[in-house]
Amino acid sequence: MTRAALRTAVACAVLAVIYLLGMALEAGLTDYVQRIALLAGINVILAVGLNLINGTTGQFSIGHAGFMAVGAYGAAFVGVQIAPALHAAIHVDALANALTFNVALVAGAILAGFCGFLVGIPSLRLRGDYLAVVTLGFGEIIRILFNNAKFLGAATGYFGNDPSGLPTYTSFFWVYAWAALIVVLVHNLTFSQTGRSLIAIREDEIAAEAMATPTTRLKVIAFAFSAATAGIAGGLFAHMQAGVRPEDFRFEKSIDMIVMIIVGGLGSISGAILGGIFVAVTLELMRDLQQYRLVLYAVLLVVIMLVRPQGLLGTRELHHLLRKRPKSGKATGAA
């Protein structure tokens, strides 16, 4: 079998497993647990995407909720606009829904990525901490804009034209299929030549530039890509909630994302996955303690920075830890 065929086969197998698992979970679990599972998947997308810019490239975005909002509103709006035409063209309802949903998600991601591009150009020419301030400001402005945008429902939020809200396309299959795709994309990017350049930028930007790495261009590309993944997560979130409200994307949401990647380990993809799941679960466990949640997160951030700044895994991946270390005797024996 050629490598391409092998890869296609593996991808199909993964999708089939996700599909079957989804069927089983939807049959066997309560709505409440299913919701947590969906949120965990969306968090994984957010965390893996944010980790690319904050962890791998060493730039710091603290306004990713803004890109998520752009993706959510974009996907919701585009979905509502194209659904009638697609349903008229394709008579199989399930197929038309799937197509509408994915086109809408991609449209939201492109919009979010474009915003990332616009925000990234001025701020990424300079040192990383400017990005923190600009993204913080962007997150606030975008929320104020959605709060005042009449055609998107202003402060009450956008629910499409149907009184029952947006169609809830988001299912276990779509969330985890997108999560798997984004994890693979980010993994391949990180372990490619471009990824090595991104790590070089994180480790020493001046040295990287001296080695003829186009730092600004790479930073902007990584940032726009990261924003686009947040857009996908936003679209999935919108079609899970049956609507988008400006207050879903407050500064707290950006902090949630930062906690995800810091707990798991800045720069580690498997760490980001663990962190995403961790935040989804703790958010549910602490639902009654809402007002203490951010205090706890704040303490967690500071304590991790003081005690173990690299996070749980550091920049290592989980499978590096699970792989057995070669015994020292073997090496000498071979020699």
Binding site: R125, G137, E140, I206, A210, I258, V302, M305
Partner: protein, 305 residues
């Protein structure tokens, strides 16, 4: 014409508050190359300290009798807030920033975000998330010149801010500590080799910056009538933009930047729409980052390996 003058007066008084806060950002950034995200929260704590100090000094009873709050008590309120904020600033530096001072740059930045978040939410738990009406430490008196309304509150804000900034200027230029601060911001390692106790100087920097922010907090309360635990987020951000606009690390730059941001905000609110008053700051930030990243009065520094 009189409307323009009115907006300029309001803008200058708001801008002088931003300038006071921006000084703290610029001093800390100048020395540690750290955006002290918690600075906005120190400003908030300063405002609340003033609120409670005025309560302890019996402002309610004085207001009920229709008297105005005596000036010496107002001064005590101001000094108390500045002292508490200075202690808080020093504590934040000691417990959160000092242990990570030599770590990679991202670590202190995340720590700063964590401290800021902690203070915001601790504030919500301690002071209640609802906005509080700020006590009238200064009874408002209105003057009118050619259709332009000037209140004694606005004049006091401008005057107090100016006096504090002048004090800071003298401190930085004329005292030993000020000279040490300038040495640290020039080259911290060389300063250490010259026998300067860098920890002590950094501590003083945080104390002074925080005290100025607290004064800004009280003036902000007087100006805006209400305060809330999240007031430091947006105001702190605007003050930071002011510092970047003027040239981060430059003390006169922070003052110029603060006044310009205040003016821009008032003029936007007056002539465009009040909804955009918060957005204009970020437009300015983006423009300055694209056109002149070193700021209006900043110096270009070559980064070396």
């Amino acid at each position: 014409m009189s409307q323009l003058l009115q907006q300029i007066i309001n803008g200058l008084s708001l801008g002088s508050i931003y300038a006071l806060i921006a000084l703290g950002y610029t001093m800390v950034y100048g020395i540690l190359k750290l955006i002290n995200f918690a600075h906005g929260e120190v400003f908030m704590v300063g405002a609340y300290t003033g609120y409670y100090a005025a309560g302890v000094l019996g402002i309610d009873a004085i207001e009920r009798q229709g008297h105005s709050f005596p000036l010496y008590l107002a001064l005590i309120v101001l000094l108390a807030a500045m002292a508490v904020a200075a202690l808080l600033g020093v504590a934040i530096e000691f417990f959160a920033y000092r242990p990570v001072r030599s770590a990679p740059r991202l670590t202190p930045l995340i720590t700063a975000i964590g401290v800021s978040l902690f203070l915001q939410n601790a504030g919500m738990l301690l002071f209640s998330p609802n906005p509080q009406r700020y006590p009238a430490i200064l009874k408002e008196v209105r003057f009118e010149f050619f259709g332009v309304i000037v209140t004694n509150v606005k004049l006091t804000i401008f005057g107090v801010a100016l006096a504090l900034m002048l004090g800071l200027h003298l401190l930085v230029q004329k005292t030993w500590t000020g000279r040490a601060m300038r040495a640290l911001s020039f080259n911290i390692d060389a300063a250490k080799l010259m026998g300067i106790d860098t920890n002590r100087v950094i501590r003083s920097t945080f104390a002074i910056g925080s005290a100025l922010a607290a004064a800004g907090g009280i003036l902000f309360g007087l100006d805006q009538i209400t305060i809330n635990p999240l007031m430091g987020v947006l105001t702190g951000l605007k003050a930071f933009v002011a510092a970047v606009l003027g040239g981060i690390g430059s003390i006169p730059g922070a003052v110029v930047g603060g006044l310009l941001i205040g003016l821009a905000e008032q003029l936007t609110a007056g002539y465009l729409s009040p909804e955009y008053r918060d957005a204009i700051t970020f437009v300015i930030l983006i423009l300055i980052l694209v056109l002149k990243p070193e700021g209006l009065l900043g110096v270009v520094r070559v980064e070396k390996v």
